[in-house]
């Protein structure tokens, strides 16, 4: 534990991509910058020269204050947005558009309101194996039976009752909905699971029970997870690796950069388990979140 | 559409304001005030000149009454007349019978202004003749003099038996010209001037029948509510005298070709003087009170009106409740009655035309 505090910037992020890694790279983010034109001449920079390599099986938490661009980064991994400069690859190939390489659990609207829980879960496997006309084939019926059985299994695993399977999303509580949303993403067996503030709208008790559930699920199958949050305690509990994005507090016209990139203990840190150490770490991280440690770029663009 | 909206609104308005009207009418009863409604038509446009030239005011002042003249859409003017919002109104003999008279509003025609002498016409493409009309689609404003003209044309051409085979398409007069010209699949249209002239500009279309072949059947009248005419204070009679005097002074100027009279009468319908003169050619004006009163007291009018009332009855224009053509009866200046004595609804009164003739106004 002490080692974490003493070497907060232990991983030189630029070097990571070139070093040979024990597990294959799941997500590769290379020198990504994002900026939008505002008005005729000016551009607003959101992200600036971000490079992150995420190994398979890592649980990466992207932490940062509101507006720091962490969700933008997630959307670029998804393929929903594209970097102005740089390159993003998932499972070794470049991201062009949204596809099923990544699973996705957003904060809201994570389920299709017009489908029951079971239909929501079955939708992914069904669409990926049978297109609309293919469903006329007799084999589809057996396939659907299998998928439904698997979906019920998954539901049980997520702590839902069999009777919930026929319900529509609006009949479930927010926590239940997010459980179903995680199950729905897991049904696709995607290599990478992207979660955008997935628990931020929930009340504290539900939130911590979902955090426990997510950790359990992750430790069982070890998918690669990229979890975006602005809550430091959540980040410390969930992740195996913490990446803090922040804008330099000295020069706020610049985009956000990686302010901190650190490994976390696999057991999950919490105030109850780690006491004062946890609090110190939170303090420490929040300094980075404010961008206190970031320097301004030198005139030639190099980051000192 | 515009016309129908207006008439519908006016109907609703008249329903709602019914009581209100009665109250305001009583409010300034010092000088008896009368309102005449008229609508755009060659034979009625002179009312516009009559008002603008001051002729009307002169005659009204002579009888110490006030007369207002108000332009309406034709349908709206009839609605207003039936709703008793106006005291007198220009209309054809057919509408006089099937609108106010059939609706129980006892009406008196005091001026027979003119008859259509070619203003209404049946126009065809491809040289169609009457025997070819059955089965063809015929565009016209149904239940008006257009349909009457069509039936009379069929009858006079020996096609009476084919009448039920006509395929009529009720077409609003505001759209009938483009609708006919742009649909060569519809070979027949029945309408009136100036629409007739607009359609005949297309040389492939020609007229096979017009109202000059049924002279004096389509009459253009000034109709007064009988109860107004019979007001106990005599103001109704004064009104009838004043408007008759003004009318014949106006018409005489028009017949004499007085430029101002022509100009204003043409402007009343937004026509050019030339176009208006062309319309007048097919309008048989009773330019003198003598001609009008002779027609009103002669035998021809009864015969013509009988054709019209039979048509109205056969087409249900006298209303759902009317079970006999005699239930809407007509009297003539000689006192004779067409129909049941106790159900006289339309009266032809030559008193004022004769007074004008004798110079007693």
């Amino acid at each position: 534990m002490v080692s974490i505090l003493s070497a907060p910037q232990a991983r030189p992020h630029a070097a990571a991509s070139s070093s040979e890694s024990p597990s294959p790279t799941a997500v590769q983010i290379q020198n990504v910058s994002v900026s939008y034109p505002i008005g005729k001449k000016a551009r607003r920079t959101i992200l600036e020269d971000i490079s992150i390599d995420i190994q398979q099986g890592e649980f990466v938490v992207l932490l940062g204050e509101t507006g720091c661009g962490k969700s933008t980064l997630l959307r670029m991994i998804l393929g929903q947005e594209h970097p102005t400069q740089g390159h993003i690859a998932v499972s070794g190939s470049a991201v062009q558009r949204v596809d099923s390489r990544c699973g996705y659990v957003p904060q809201k609207y994570s389920l299709f309101p017009d489908r029951t829980v079971l239909e929501n879960l079955a939708m992914g496997p069904e669409t990926s194996h049978y297109h609309i006309l293919g469903r006329l084939k007799p084999s589809f019926r057996t396939f659907r039976k299998q998928v439904h059985a698997e979906a019920l299994n998954q539901l049980r695993h997520m702590g839902l009752q069999q009777s919930d399977a026929g319900k529509y999303p609006h009949q479930l509580s927010g926590g239940m909905q997010q459980r179903v949303a995680i199950a729905q993403a897991l049904m696709m067996k995607s290599r990478v699971l992207l979660m955008d503030e997935a628990f931020s709208a929930l009340d504290p008790a539900t939130r911590s029970s979902l955090q426990r559930l997510l950790r359990t699920v992750w430790s069982e199958t070890r998918p690669t997870v990229v979890f975006v949050t602005h809550n430091t305690a959540e980040a410390l509990y969930l992740g195996t690796r913490l990446i803090v994005l922040a804008r330099s507090s000295h020069a706020d016209h610049c985009g956000s950069r990686v302010a901190l990139d650190m490994q976390l203990p696999a057991s999950g840190m919490s105030l109850r388990n780690n006491g004062q150490e946890f609090l110190d770490l939170v303090d420490h991280i929040e300094q980075f979140s404010r961008g206190d440690h970031l320097t301004t770029p030198s005139p030639d663009g190099e980051i000192r | 559409m515009k016309a129908t909206n207006v008439r519908f609104l006016s109907l609703i308005g008249s329903l709602l304001l019914l009581q209100g009207f009665a109250v305001t009418a009583n409010a300034h009863a010092d000088v008896p005030t009368f309102t005449v409604g008229w609508s755009v038509y060659a034979g009625w446009n002179p009312y516009f000149y009559m008002q603008k030239s001051g002729i009307l005011k002169k005659w009204a002042d002579k009888y110490a009454i006030a007369i207002k003249v108000q332009r309406f859409d034709y349908a709206a003017s009839l609605d207003s007349f039936v709703a008793k919002n106006i005291d007198a109104c220009t209309m054809t003999n057919m509408e006089a019978l099937d609108m106010p008279a059939a609706a129980g509003v006892d009406s008196t025609a005091i001026i027979i202004g003119d008859y259509s002498n070619g203003n209404d016409a049946i126009l065809v493409r491809n040289g169609l003749t009457f025997d070819k009309l059955p089965g063809q689609r015929i565009m016209l404003v149904q239940k008006t003099v257009s349909e009457y003209l069509l039936e009379r044309g069929m009858v006079l051409n020996g096609q009476q038996a084919q009448l039920s085979k006509l395929r009529l398409i009720n077409t609003s007069d505001s759209d009938i010209v483009p609708a006919f010209l742009n649909n060569t699949s519809n070979p027949v249209v029945v309408t009136w001037k100036p629409l007739v002239s607009q359609i005949l500009a297309d040389k492939s279309i020609h007229s096979i029948f017009d109202s000059s072949k049924i002279p004096a059947e389509i009459l253009d009248l000034l109709v007064v509510r009988t109860e107004v005419l019979n007001r106990p204070d005599g103001s109704g009679v004064k009104f009838a005298k004043a408007i008759s005097g003004a009318w014949y002074e106006t018409v005489q100027q028009l017949a004499a070709g007085q430029p101002q009279a022509l100009k204003y009468s043409a402007a009343a319908s937004g026509d050019s003087v030339d176009s208006y003169k062309e319309q007048l050619k097919t309008t048989a004006l009773f330019a003198t009170p003598k001609s009008a009163s002779e027609f009103a007291t002669g035998p021809a009018i009864k015969q013509k009106m009988d054709l019209v009332r039979q048509f109205c009855y056969a087409h249900g224009l006298l209303g759902q409740g009317i079970k006999s053509v005699d239930d809407v009866a007509i009297t003539y200046p000689d006192g004779s009655i067409q129909g049941r004595k106790d159900r006289v609804r339309l009266r032809f009164n030559a008193t004022y035309m004769q007074a004008a003739q004798q110079g007693k106004l």
Partner: protein, 286 residues
């Protein structure tokens, strides 16, 4: 009446009171009508502008059990009521107006699908949206002469008038609904291996369907207005045709039942769409 408080937002009128308040205006309307009718009939027993109950009953009977004046059909003396109804004026007019109405409704389906594409597919949006925005502001009635040239004066010009009249509004409305579908849903569907067709028709369209039906419900009255306009301009049958003809001789005894019948039909269509919506989309929260 102890606490008379019409301007109190927090007032709680009891059930009986609110029920009677809700019928009050109906009673006033009927009362005013009757009063007007009675006073007009006192003056003129044959008044047609405000027909009395007897005239109305005769008018209803004529519309429901007697053939239209232009028809050759003469019912046999022993014809059943059904037989008479089947050949009646109101039946004939309802069928022909109804056919125009439902064909237009069917033709709105492609418009709705186009709207889906405009809202969802950037290429369609770029190509169509501005044009539809512009076209929406065109007063369809003023295009009538053009419609006559293109569609003739028969059925198709009336149907075209309805479709051109309401389709742009519906397209704009539906494409707004499509745009309002959260981006998360579309992204999520793509992560579940859905293709463009799946996303458009099996995710977005299914979700906006109840709103689309509600939009149609709101447009029923404009549709009827355009149908009436068309039938009043040129027609040989239909509900508005009959009203136009009856007005020529002030047949309010037939017009009033027709107006109420049209109102009832519209109410019925609206109700059935509402019930259909509730049945088909139990998940929908308005």
């Amino acid at each position: 009446m102890a606490n008379f408080s019409p301007f109190d937002i927090q007032a709680r009128p009891n059930r009986l009171l609110s029920q009677s308040l809700s019928v009050l205006l109906f009673v006033i309307c009927i009362g005013l009508y009757m009063q007007t009718s009675i006073s007009r009939h006192r003056e003129n027993s044959e008044d047609r502008v405000v027909p009395n109950a007897r005239q109305l009953a005769a008018g209803i009977h004529a519309s429901v059990f007697e053939p239209a004046e232009e028809d050759d059909y003469i019912p046999a003396d022993n014809a059943s009521r059904w037989e008479r109804l089947h050949h009646s004026m109101i039946w004939k007019d309802t069928v022909s107006s109804g056919r125009r109405f439902f064909i237009s409704l069917l033709l709105l389906i492609p418009a709705i699908l186009l709207a889906l594409h405009i809202g969802l597919f950037p290429w369609f949006g770029a190509g169509f949206l501005r044009f539809v925005l512009f076209f929406d502001k065109i007063v369809a009635l003023s295009l009538l002469p053009i419609l006559f040239i293109v569609f003739g004066i028969d059925e198709w010009s009336k149907i075209a008038l309805i479709v051109i009249g309401v389709a742009p509004t519906i397209i704009l409305d539906v494409s707004q609904m499509v745009r309002a579908v959260p981006q998360e849903q579309i992204v999520k569907a793509f992560t579940l291996d859905a293709n463009n067709f799946d996303v458009a028709y099996r995710v977005v369209f299914r979700q906006v369907m109840p709103q689309v039906i509600n939009s149609l419900r709101l447009n029923l009255k404009p549709m009827m207005l355009f149908l009436f306009a068309g039938e009043m301009i040129a027609a040989s049958d239909g509900l508005a045709y009959r009203i136009a003809i009856m007005r020529r001789h002030m047949g309010m005894d037939v017009i009033l039942p027709y107006v109420l019948w049209v109102a009832f039909l519209l109410f019925l269509i609206d109700l059935s769409l509402r019930v259909l919506n509730r049945r088909m989309h139990p998940w929908f929260q308005s």
